[in-house]
Symmetry: D2
Subunit: 184 residues, 4 copies
């Protein structure tokens, strides 16, 4: 999961979403400027998503929300459309007690792959996309990404955002304004 240099990164495509769960109103890449966005593309009947990707996204949501990272689950159905509709997804999200925002990728009229998935070029599920605080697409990955690697990418983007905000100069870090530890 390499992070793209800023001068090479392109703007992240906007989301095309048919419905949202776990959130009061629609989210958008444009509206999340200033935040880091982790986009987790999944399907509810994808075993690797259920065993690895979704728990990882939920863990990022729990640990990094306070650091300005917004985690979005994107339900990118490209197979078994009839049995992974919005009602099935709502039952799934409820049974698995997911708390992060979940978006239903808008189906295409031209084929099985939904629109946001196409825009981002995801090759399957699970996939990840990382978008920086200026809305640039900095990384995408297909398949299993380990937590150390994903954490490192998040740490970099959080620091970039914080530096741009003058945080470090103010004596703060991306992870808060910590008092010095009292080491002996």
């Amino acid at each position: 999961m390499d992070i793209q240099p800023t001068h090479l990164a392109r703007p992240a495509p906007e989301l095309e979403v048919a419905a949202w769960l776990n959130v009061a109103g629609p989210l958008s890449i444009a509206g999340l400027r200033g935040r880091i966005v982790l986009l987790h593309a999944f399907q509810m009947l994808c075993p690797g998503c259920v065993s690895h990707g979704i728990p990882q996204a939920a863990s990022v949501h729990a640990r990094f929300s306070a650091r300005g990272v917004v985690t979005i689950g994107l339900h990118t159905v490209f197979e078994h459309h009839a049995v992974m509709g919005p009602e099935a997804l709502a039952a799934f999200v409820g049974e698995y007690r997911l708390g992060m925002p979940v978006a239903v990728d808008r189906p295409s009229t031209e084929g099985p792959v939904p629109q946001t998935m196409t825009r981002y070029g995801f090759r399957g599920t699970p996939s990840l996309a990382l978008i920086d605080h200026l809305g640039r697409l900095r990384s995408t990955a297909f398949g299993r990404v380990d937590d150390l690697t994903l954490g490192a990418a998040l740490g970099q983007l959080v620091l970039e955002r914080d530096q741009a905000a003058g945080g470090e100069a103010a004596g703060c870090t991306p992870f808060g304004c910590a008092l010095p530890e009292q080491l002996p």
Copy 2:
């Protein structure tokens, strides 16, 4: 595992080491200037070290060596000294096939806690310390740290180092000089 702001961070204490394994010659904090150092304090008979800390350190060693992170296992024996001597440690390192540099913390003449452990103020095992590319102690943690959190801290320190080296300006990231991905 909060990262200390740079202007508040103190210099990392130098290592006091009785013996080294897996490395041709002694390492030192001073000699590792320019690298990020992850110091993993463990005892070979500490269950939490064997089940979580050591595998995590080995994983960082495998994934982040190419990014300029040096992972050092520090055997900080503060109990059961008679059965965790250098010969026992060598057998342990061999049986567990550890490849990272391993240092034997130098025993104290004044008590059970060895010298480097005292200098760093570690409260037990496993413990972690993170030292930045300028030799500053930026974070310490006692007990289990999850991979996402440790990864984020490493990502931040790697980016700081790379920025200081002018890497980003040259079109490179902490994780290499990547070509832009060919997204649609």
Copy 3:
């Protein structure tokens, strides 16, 4: 998961099944006389079933089929009926690559709980039922059962069956007719 003494055990209720997957024709308790039956009640949207119960049933299917144990997955939908129909189940079984016989418990006309689930008195999912070679219901359990405990129950029922068949007298065990190991 206590095993019921034989003189106290009641006959296992017959299955009421709307459809079968992974098997050429319908199975029945009556038709499986001579076999031990492990009935695993699950729902495809039940997290504990997906993470623990179904992998355990698949493991029993893989390890104990040759020992005369028939493992049956019973899809006992008692909630979210609209999104756990036969088509959704077929997609689920395909994506998770389940190889054991899977039965769709027949819906009730009187309420949400399907018919076989009611007959067996299952309190939820996952649940297990163990039926001996004479068709007697010897044990039921709701929730997570560890592998050692389930294995012990299976070992007992397999031995009973084998003893009834005269296996031990013929020099064989429930697990085959083993040559003596050549121990020193």
Copy 4:
């Protein structure tokens, strides 16, 4: 882990033990007649023992003690003798909080392999041996044995013991004298 038919099984070799931990006095195969014995051969510096074998033996100890199964950890040191002596073992057993009886296999005067290990023909660690209630060696295994398989073997031996004691005739099973469940 096949179970040997009774008419082919040989008597289990007696233990040759230099020291015992976690038990008031020495145990012996002869003295355990009437019990099933699970012998778990391990070395404290064997990674597969620490990650799999010892937790499994501890789980059997916790779950099957009430069913007449005695689990014994046998420290069969055949390498690194200098650093796996009795004092090191005592520290290990304490740190890992093992509660089962642990025996130190008596060293041989003729080579590195200790005496009980030789008698049982164990090929390495971890290894298991199962001894029935009449003191017969019914199974041995080298390496990882899964819980379902070990459970099945234990269930068989427990049932054999109980049948010999007339338990089933008295309305009891190997797992206690259960009241019939109140199934609908």
